[in-house]
């Protein structure tokens, strides 16, 4: 009897493993399609017989990088890095103020932030165009400001949870020792928030790196960022799928790498708010 039970349990596990493996396979299959198409010649792509097997060629990547794409890549890197660093610094400071101080304006800031975090980018697109253009804030500076604003609510809200877990005794002791509030924050609190900062950094970078709507209205030929650069591969005469997929792979690569390096932080970020703890 115990043996039958053990066999049953083992079979059960095998079935469950197969199910989750299939689920994961479906999730990555289209990404593998993009990868394999990016490595094919134009003739192979347009033959219509899709196959994962081919003699890989980097021709598409070379063509893509020879055009304006390299400049777009540079713009994307600059905007995303600035947006991420500034969002983290300002967001954590604000979360710290909400968590540790009682001041008038605390509740409006806290609830306003939470309420505004779901503003659709399409709602922002038109007014941002009207406001930023006369101020000469179109281009990369304006885009960076927009991305910081867009990412602050989530960052404040995520980091607030992490700051709440830091025992206040630590700060009380440091204050008694004569440590000012700013030194305290930057030397004592910030280092303790590393897991939260990592999760917030990945989400902020991802949004800034992937964003298309605001980028399409705030940038021009020289200040374009990658996502819109990819979209420009769709032309009236048709689509060179190999090149398009190569461009797409280049855009997708940093978020893919982050996911493999920091899956745990990403899942923390995804479940924050819905699941406690």
């Amino acid at each position: 009897m115990p043996d039958a039970f053990a066999t049953n349990e083992r079979n059960n596990n095998a079935v469950r493993l197969a199910a989750v493996a299939a689920f994961a396979a479906i999730s990555i299959l289209p990404i593998l399609v993009m990868l394999s198409t990016s490595l094919k010649t134009q003739r192979q792509v347009f033959s219509g017989d899709f196959s994962f097997f081919m003699v890989p060629t980097f021709e598409n990547y070379r063509t893509v990088l020879e055009g304006r794409f390299l400049g777009y890549l540079g713009n994307s890197v600059v905007v995303s890095l600035f947006a991420t660093v500034l969002t983290l610094v300002f967001g954590t400071m604000c979360a710290y103020a909400i968590s540790r101080f009682k001041f008038s304006g605390r509740s409006p800031i806290a609830f306003g932030t939470l309420l505004i975090r779901t503003v659709p980018p399409a709602v922002l697109a038109i007014p941002v165009y009207f406001i930023f253009t006369p101020l000469h804030l179109d281009g990369l500076v304006g885009l960076t400001i927009s991305y910081i604003a867009l990412n602050l609510p989530f960052t404040i809200w995520l980091l607030y949870g992490f700051i709440e877990q830091v025992p206040t005794e630590l700060e009380e002791a440091a204050t008694v020792d004569g440590c000012g509030p700013f030194r305290l924050f930057f030397t004592l609190i910030l280092p303790l928030l590393k897991p939260g900062l990592a999760a917030a950094a990945i989400f902020t970078f991802r949004i800034a790196w992937n964003e298309l709507v605001l980028a399409s209205i705030l940038t021009n030929r020289t200040s374009r960022t990658l996502p819109y650069g990819v979209y420009l591969f769709i032309t009236d005469v048709g689509i060179d799928w190999g090149q398009l997929m190569a461009a797409g792979m280049l855009v997708a690569l940093p978020p893919l790498i982050f996911t493999f390096v920091a899956a745990r932080q990403i899942i923390t970020g995804l479940t924050a708010g819905a699941v406690k703890g």
Binding site: V45, L115, V119, I126, P127, I148, P181, L212, A274
Partner: protein, 296 residues
Amino acid sequence: MQLGSGFDRRLTPYIFAAPAVLIMLFGLLYPVVEALRLAFYEVRLGEQMTPQAFRGFAIFAEALSDSSVRKSMAVTLQFSVIVVFVEMALGVGLALALEKPLRGMMVFRTLLVLPMMIAPICVGLIWRYMFDVNVGPINGWLSVFGLKPAWLADPGLAFFAICVTDIWQFTPFVFILALAGLQGLDQSSVEAAKMDGATTLQIIRYVKLPLLAPILMITILMRVIDALRGLEVVYAMTNGGPGLSTELFSLHIYKSAFVTQRMGHSAALSIGLLVVTTALSALLLMWSNPLRQKGR
């Protein structure tokens, strides 16, 4: 505190909060107010809001009676209901089936997150290729059965295709949230039900799902809000066509601003969208307010 006088100390929180608050005021709140103002003017791209261009509530009324707006609302409603329902059913179902700790689960969860991490524009383009009538892999596989549907050229099939894409992208999100919720459940009530001789299905129906309900409601709300905000995937896949069959509301707002250049019209619609997403967001806050999770 040694350095600060009382005045300095009272100023400290404001200094900490100021940079973030100022940027959010300028980058989020001011644009929203400006959109509200724009909704009363009939202006095109590059024009100013002059008194001559003031139309008052006429633009709202016009927008509501516009047939393309109504069509877009219907498409968005259908889309949201279908994808959120299917994603919840699949995601929660899989989470219930795979709840027990499984070796290698972290690896699988990592792979499942990938579709949510890559740029929406990439997701749209990948699936545009997948569904391409001539060179797409899906028709490549279907050719075995002698089938060659023109997915993105047929209104019904194109709508189906954008649903498939969203379900592909976000079922893992529901799965991961539901799994985290299940693993955080109080096991004693499940054990008690088992002792009373409840079947697996009864335990799911009468113990697990009710305990999971708050998390599931939050997940549904998050998904609906996202479905209302998104436009990039569809922009890349179909650009709303053929006809208006896949024109989601956010995409309609974007296109009427920057393609047909009816700013007032677009701003009026965006205020409507904002009211809906903010109401849902407020509802979400009632269920799950991170500021009230003290001591966690």
